[in-house]
Symmetry: C2
Amino acid sequence: MPAIKQHALQLTGLRRQVLGLLLANRPLVDSILGRPVRDASAAPQVISDQTARLVAIQRHLHAADLADLLESLPHDERLAFWRLVGNDKRGKTLVEASESVWESLIAEMSNGDILKAIRPLDVDEQAYLARYLPRDLVGRILTSLEPHRRAQVRAMMNFDRDSVGHHMDFELAAIRPDVSLATVQRYLRWRKTLPENTDKLFVVDRHNLLVGELALSTLLLNPLDKQVMDVMDPRPTTFRAEDRAEDAAGAFERYDLITAPVVDNKGKLMGRLSIEHVVDLFFEENDSNLRNLGGLSPSEDIFAPVRKTVRTRWAWLAVNLCTAFIASRVIGLFEGTISQLVSLAALMPIVAGIGGNTGNQTITMIVRALALRQLEKGNAVFLLLRELGVAVINGLVWGGIMGVVTWLLYRDAGLGGVMMLAMLLNLVLASLMGVLIPLTMIKVGHDPAVGSSVMITAVTDTGGFFIFLGLATLFLMH
Amino acid sequence: MPAIKQHALQLTGLRRQVLGLLLANRPLVDSILGRPVRDASAAPQVISDQTARLVAIQRHLHAADLADLLESLPHDERLAFWRLVGNDKRGKTLVEASESVWESLIAEMSNGDILKAIRPLDVDEQAYLARYLPRDLVGRILTSLEPHRRAQVRAMMNFDRDSVGHHMDFELAAIRPDVSLATVQRYLRWRKTLPENTDKLFVVDRHNLLVGELALSTLLLNPLDKQVMDVMDPRPTTFRAEDRAEDAAGAFERYDLITAPVVDNKGKLMGRLSIEHVVDLFFEENDSNLRNLGGLSPSEDIFAPVRKTVRTRWAWLAVNLCTAFIASRVIGLFEGTISQLVSLAALMPIVAGIGGNTGNQTITMIVRALALRQLEKGNAVFLLLRELGVAVINGLVWGGIMGVVTWLLYRDAGLGGVMMLAMLLNLVLASLMGVLIPLTMIKVGHDPAVGSSVMITAVTDTGGFFIFLGLATLFLMH
């Protein structure tokens, strides 16, 4: 298979082969996992051929593809395939895999295996994995490192997960400002390697203070006798280790950066941030918004077994059940009214449903605007007024339509009027809370995506039932 | 303000200043837009100082920041600020801005202005904007270009929006395989410029057939007397113009690419794809999933005026109202039952709500898995069975709890039993449809994120009411 990487998208073919071999193939999975093969129809020769084929494919796949594949496999198939991944590739694969599958993969490995897998990694990758490993193992990894590397890993592990420091790496190429480009080129040829994704060299003085950066293209486009300081960019875009990683990611997107230096308070060069980590950050942020609004926990793993899935989902289900119960008690208050006019029971879900729909639209819009950093204190008032305006118009139009439909259906003009008024009021309530709930959450330092959707549904359900049945009791009961 | 770019995150300060000056400052906005300033308290001197300040800030901001700011402003403030943006920056700003604001910005400009703004852009940027411009203007832009550039723009405009061809650019540096690295370096110094984000040179033979790629780092790390063909990567990751852009973005993330060559069917070099477009693609894809699941249309602009927002949202509202009406008619079928046992009206929203919650969790999970390409034909069956398993367990546990609560609350064991059974059945229905709806949508070539959420809610509401009231009629009515 020499031409595998030739065309990047042919890879899906290899992925399909792995899935095809492993899925619904109990005998193969059992045999790899060393369990007794129960299916008598499985010929040992076929199983060993298939295993050999999997090992061969595995060898040709990039660590990122292996990680993807492992995430796409149900539990047993995942473990079986993981057994076949060589120790030399396991470290990189763990780094590329999402955290939701680490637990199941690492649980499979002995401490010795983990050490073997992790040793060849870069410092930043080791630090990234380290905080999810058993404590005694982290100690052993740290002692196996040279002292200055150990200090680096320790430093990274102490940075907050959401900070630039947590995502930076230490492998970088630095040069002095007062040498010629020819000297820089000689230095690079002597060095023989550059860190991955190097698009620029960092220029530092002898106190390691960052004074500029020299793009590889600048180095190549200028006459060799020029001094670094004459052609370098003396005002590079820099970050600090304690900056929020999300903000840094935004800056990468805005300024089309590939790498950028990270400096300490005094302006000394500490490390660099590179686009590959930033792309991962984008994924994570967008993903967490999607998960949170959809009521999935961050540890939801698409192929987790039933038991684990029940556990990750039960919290939102319980919250939802509580709010539904409260809404139900509100209806309970009006049982007298409903027993006199049973059509109310059929109409009330319309009022509640339309409010939930509008409220969720508003919340999605705000969470999105926050992620894109389009929302500031100054424009929140505009937004609130705009949403209220939209709600009033929709309430009058759709409430009016439903009011007329109700009137015709039940031949009761009063009921139609109550329907229209209730829809209008519930839409206003929905848009008001749709803006206020996420903004209040930010104020108290809470992620506005988490739980907003459940809260708005609770408010529009309970509120919708209360408004509709309350108005009915007020105007239609005698 | 010379140190503006020094620390990337200080920018938010400038953004705040612009928002602070423009928001809730009617006199300034009116004056910039050339409208009569109604507020008598506004001193002309203050207004002209503030305008000068905005112009100064605008000059220091990167086009991407200008685009962000314009998106964060309500309609009138946006137009006022746009008036102050220099023609030299307007083209780049349009490219960086999201499509939802183009209409309002371009509507402000004369055809002459648009031509002036667009002429300095790269071919790929012109093509990107061209398809949203008035037709006669596109013709004028095309005629103003050199013939070979005109052909390139035309070719790009013909590629599908979701294809690699639509996102590639034509500015690239190509070299021959049979020259020394010293020659390549001389050639680059003679060229004097390289396209943005160049991390590698493409190696082509005299028929423009791609034979390899030479990373700038490889060029710098190897002895100058080596031949290109000895050090180049002879098997680069390539894309075709008709590949799906989404798939290419996935490959960029997997293989940590910065740029990659795009070739035609014969392997001839056509252009290149670069990480900056890919990052934008990630944003778009994640954003569209979030919008779609939240019921926002792709043209939803957070600061659109009321009238436009009503228009972009009415479709989902109408669909939602229809499904709610159907659910209401299902309840209507059972009015006889409800009038005999009015507590059913209070309990039925619990059954419907819990189904909607579970169904939406399942759908979010599947849309997410599809975006991450973790879902294949082979593992869909596993997923369906897993979700059914989770539904049965949750149905038994939470249905059991609610059954007992109902029993105690209404002192009616039969009602408790119906409650439990209805919750169990509706959870099973929700998880079944939560898997089947998005998968069916893919099968018929429809984006599974669009409308899934509305459909699942319709099914779980209608289904929940029918199951619960149907069981009650069957078991509790005499």
